[in-house]
Amino acid sequence: MLNWAFREMLLAPQQLFASVAAVAGALLLVLFFEGVFAGESDQIVALIDKTDADVWVMQKGVGNMHMSTSFVADWKVDAVAEVEGVARTTPILYMNSAVEASGRSWFSYVVGIELDNPRVGPWEMVQGARFPAPGGAVVPEIFASDAGLKLGDTIRIAGTYFRVDGFSGDTFSMANSINFVGMDDLADVMGTLGVVSYILVDAEPGVSAQALAERIIAEVEAVNALPRDIFVARDYSIAVQMGLNIVWIMTLIGGALAVLLTGFVVYSHVTERERELAVMKALGVRDRAIYAAVSAQALTIGGLAFAMALALMAMAIPLAAEFAPKISLAITTEAVLRAGVTALVVSLISAVIPVRRILSVDPVSAFQQ
């Protein structure tokens, strides 16, 4: 029966391809939206991830960077530096703000860095200086390109104008962008004095980040300290959760579409082959064997569609980077699993749709002309 089921599908290869492509399109919806959120989430944690400090120190009670505010008294930079196992400390100031240029604005992370300390800064440069001079800013190249900015033009951050000193790469997504300015300049914008937002800590060789974080919390008053991996994971989790409902909605929509398409295809196959099914029943094939064959067809369509959707998604990532750089796409294990489970559920539901039709096929009709 399985031999028949597969060959029956191959009898009309164009029809099979169209069916698989249609279902793949529905599954691609699931993969694409989850891919967008994964890509955006990757960008949201890019600063922490790319700046490979071992431990991040922040205000007590704060555990994230995204959508958070942290203030730590600047004397604690030295206090942290004195903790055993700390090789180096680097303070940054940080705020969330709209960055405006050419009448447009973007939600951004604005990171104030020590201009004489190259520990923190853009990790990929497209043009200009990597570290801004006083009164200057390094902005994402995509942002600059959208706004038609050239080096030396001005942008506005929280009402203060900055000169564009450089264009960075890999610092822009639809959800946020990362702009670097001098720490003193940002302190002026924020109206703060004697505080930093985060302290980046490099551990001495052989010192574990977890142990060092615990030691910092114990020895320095009113701070929280997290190893980089944990800090990244927490921010990533927040970013993903922000999109989780939309991902689920798209999974349901994509899944429902896929069920409709696969169900229609499988039902059509059953309807078109009703006479053959009657003959099979007359020859002694039982309903459950026919049902297994139809299920195999649905699973094959689902499996092929899943593979096609994955391949299309893999192709879409470099294409998006080339032609739609604002869209950050990524394939995660969770997305693949979600799409795979969706394909499986879709196939199983679709296989149930023609059951009544299969059961109603009368073997006596094999005798009819």
């Binding site: 028949w4 053959e276 006596v364």
Partner: protein, 292 residues
């Protein structure tokens, strides 16, 4: 007769209710022995398909019993009936009913998947059958590329691959030209003679009657034996169909002459206006006597 392969007793099958009720099979009993080739013929709507469906374990009778190869199938469940059909009965259909997606060899082997030995045991038999039926060179061909005769020979090979005790063929020559029909007829005859299969054929093809051991006439749900000798035929004055005078259960006498009818319906229509139909019948008879 030795122990019959197929034995049916007092079969009744009714469709519909009230005044639309039709007794498609009305008290039919039948025995079919090993190696016996029996044809069933009769007018359209006489209940042939219903009868072979019951005898082929595809349809349950309202009353009566059917025994196939010693097993009373009347009380069997669907699973047991499916297994019985797969192992004991071979079907040949008028429309061939091959599976379009499978080639000739796989079509023949299809029922073997349902038998205990599977395709491993049946592969040799399938090849031998295809060679014997002249399809050795067409094993890989898809049904769409076969002629009508080739399709029907493939269907016969499929019916035989599980070495069934009973073959049920419904109008096996109905869609074939005279040459292919002759071939198929001889194959079915040889199956009964050489393999001891019981072969039950529903047909209107008088050539098959020439090789049949028995010819049964089914009309209005009842079955009667009929000899293959030349028959005295009369033309139904209502529908103009030729009717066997000896077997016709529907006849009427009018103005000193007997008229025969193919069915109750024609009989009733004649009775409603015998004068008109009698004149028509006389004219037809006169035309047959003097065709010029």
């Amino acid at each position: 007769m030795s122990q019959p392969i197929l034995s049916a007793r007092d079969l009744v099958k009714t469709f519909g209710t009230g005044h639309t009720q039709v007794r498609a099979v009305d008290g039919i009993s039948l025995d079919l022995g090993p190696g016996e080739l029996v044809t069933i013929t009769g007018p359209s709507g006489s209940g042939k398909t219903t009868l072979v469906s019951i005898l082929g374990a595809l349809l349950r009778p309202d009353e009566g019993s059917v025994t196939i190869a010693g097993q009373d199938i009347t009380a069997m469940g669907e699973a047991a009936l499916s297994a019985l059909r797969a192992r004991t009965i071979g079907f040949v259909f008028q429309s061939f009913n091959l599976l379009d997606a499978l080639n000739v060899r796989d079509n023949v082997l299809f029922p073997a998947h349902l038998a205990p030995g599977g395709t491993r045991d049946a592969a040799g038999r399938a090849d031998a059958l295809l060679d014997r039926l002249g399809l050795g060179a067409r094993k890989q061909a898809l049904p769409a590329t076969l002629s009508g005769g080739e399709k029907q020979r493939t269907a016969i090979a499929r019916a035989l691959v599980n070495q069934p005790r009973l073959i049920i063929a419904d109008e096996p020559t109905g869609n074939l030209d005279s040459h292919s029909g002759q071939e198929v007829m001889m194959v079915l005859h040889d199956i009964a003679r050489d393999q001891g299969c019981s072969v039950l054929i529903v047909t209107h093809d008088q050539r098959i009657e020439e090789v049949a051991d028995r010819i049964l006439w089914l009309e209005d749900g009842t079955l009667r034996d009929r000899k293959a000798e030349p028959r005295a035929l009369a033309r139904d004055p209502v529908c103009n169909m030729l009717v066997d005078k000896e077997l016709s259960a529907n006849f009427a006498d009018h103005e000193g002459r007997r008229y025969h009818f193919c069915s109750k319906r024609c009989h009733q229509r004649f009775e409603a206006d015998p004068q008109a139909y009698a004149a028509q019948g006389a004219l037809a008879a006169e035309t047959e006597r003097n065709p010029t």
